[in-house]
Symmetry: D2
Subunit: 214 residues, 4 copies
């Protein structure tokens, strides 16, 4: 299982969460990445944790003021990136071009989508992973694996029918070890988390609880 | 073969093109649809030609000022719609929702994409057809079937590998009967045209030339 | 006072509302325009009512699939257009270019904005009118003139300080004659309405009530 | 005069340019800020140069994956930000909200616009400065002060008529000391530069040449 902790624009201390994630990852052997704001990538990467961008732009080097250049994210220490998160939806052509940009910068990619049909669509673009996150469950604390387990199994089937080498992660509402194993049982090979860790009083304890069953 | 004539925002007379298209379609038996500006849908439909929207919005009835409601397009006489044209690229989630909107309004759908990877992606969303249009060839007069025939065959293969019931149209640079049969030979089941007809001195003659080989 | 009835994407009968608006306008002498979906412009204009577009694109004639060309809206009978409605917010540069497009097509313009600062900004672009519509009040039935009258007076002051020839309309929550006179007392020279008329059981009665105090 | 060096997504070494800018600023007494990619803010700020973001998002802390949070930019060392650059045009309402976000994070603001009308519009939103940059001159090496000096004087007049406390910067094609003094003579109180410094073989020499006449 892969765990990606998305810090969004939360008022958390990114270094504290990153340090906790690195420690729990080291202790448990579970791959845990932290995705901070672009401006925080370097200080997060300096903790030694696996560091992801939340987004990279569909551009190459050039006149692109205000873009998030994949190469700059990589420079700052990122080794992966989310794309098309439901809070940062992209045009189809830009998902494709951002995947190219990420590849040029040696960033691992996980493309998010809302439902199984869209998971099939993004799987066709050749990402390293896809993640199904029903927008209506994000931030609710109700895990998709409990609220609507068919979404996960259907997403796994949709990805498989298009490209059976693309692992499916699942997100939205996941916070506990039980949620994580439920996702795994449904065929997910990773999870995206956000508020469950980033807003926890004790992010390290939250992550330890999360990976305990693995 | 299906022929869709996209009038874009050209300064042509939409009724003249529509009338020509209806006549050539009646005479030749080839299905020819005309896609005018939304504000021209009704007068185009009144000619009796098959009428398509150039775009519909990813919305249902409600508070959506300035949208292009699928139901309103249908009311005005449209029976189909293009989606995600390279001049009107959509977010992936909005292609999916616009397909739902079109279905609710009984509109036939053709989703455009730039290249074979993206064709695979949009085929996964269940449209009635997909269309490959390399943006760099649009309006050039050089047909994709001549400039880069592999794009068409790869697009046909990409769509087939995802959903073998989805026909592939091809666009960009097509204007003559020779272009059309070349596209057909590469596996395309339809073509999108624009300037070749809309900007022709004699749209009817242009359409007659186009369908002559069929 | 000018009254603009925005039909949005409501499931109303645009011809019924347009006919009612024409009759009430004729009987009362109050200028009432109806803004339907682009695909309904022609049948609304055919009733003889003053017809507005809900939006026009920031483009000229050309390769702009899926745009709403100002010239096409005018062709279909529109004589005015809303721009930058809070449900169709535009980039600043596109408001400017859409105003140019509307002027080329002889469309009267009313640019919407959320608050007095933005009203000052859009007044600087030279529209025929501006409209202040606090998004949080749209569709509530609570008129801005009651919920927060300072917004209207501040908007009037902001427009005046930039260009004192630009009339200010106000929208959001307006449905009765009392709302309309309250707006007028605060300095508004027009009102935007939507659900209060479009969703009324009897649109003509709603409009008669609206203009009764004038 | 204020000088802002926009590194866009250029393949330059941001630390080298930043170090040069700090040295030339120290030696000349001219305020020079450097605006790198968000992911490079921290290493640029670590050089001691005045550091600006190229863009911040119109959001507060919260669920905004892939945003550029003003507070995160400030954390990383930014003390100012560009907004609405022609390569990152914003909706009017988002310029307004991004100005609020920048203010919350104590970032100085400079809002870009294409022409004098739009300069008047953005001046009405209360930024610390505005910058006129005709998009057709960006990257050409032909300074706006030479290609079309009226744009600068008209922009200064437009800003003044709306709010005479807002300084006007000018950009597009500026690279030499002569360009800078020409801009100053037209009423500009600052300049935006990009390729002239970022792509120079010797950025320090380019900056020394730029500020020599001051």
């Amino acid at each position: 299982m892969k765990v990606v902790v998305n810090l969004k624009a939360y008022p958390c201390n990114p270094v504290e969460v990153a340090t906790a994630a690195r420690e729990v990852s080291d202790e448990s052997g579970v791959a845990i990445a932290v995705a901070p704001q672009a401006a925080h990538l370097q200080r997060v990467a300096d903790t030694g944790v696996e560091t992801w961008a939340q987004h990279v732009s569909a551009v190459e080097h050039g006149s692109h003021t205000g873009s998030t250049l994949a190469e700059a994210a990589a420079d700052a220490g990122a080794t992966g990136t989310l794309l098309n998160h439901s809070e940062r939806r992209l045009k189809l052509a830009d998902i494709d071009a951002a995947l190219d940009a990420a590849e040029r910068a040696d960033l691992e990619t996980c493309v998010c989508a809302n439902d199984p049909d869209q998971i099939g669509a993004v799987a066709a673009l050749g990402p390293d992973a896809v993640a199904v996150e029903p927008p209506e469950l994000i931030g609710t604390g109700t895990p998709v694996s409990k609220a609507d387990p068919d979404i996960v199994t259907d997403a796994v089937a949709a990805a498989e029918s298009v490209d059976d080498s693309v692992p499916v992660y699942c997100g939205a509402g996941i916070s506990t070890g039980e949620d994580l194993t439920a996702a795994q049982d449904l065929g997910a090979e990773g999870v995206l988390l956000a508020s469950g860790v980033a807003k926890a009083d004790d992010p390290k304890a939250a992550l330890e609880d999360l990976v305990a069953p693995l």
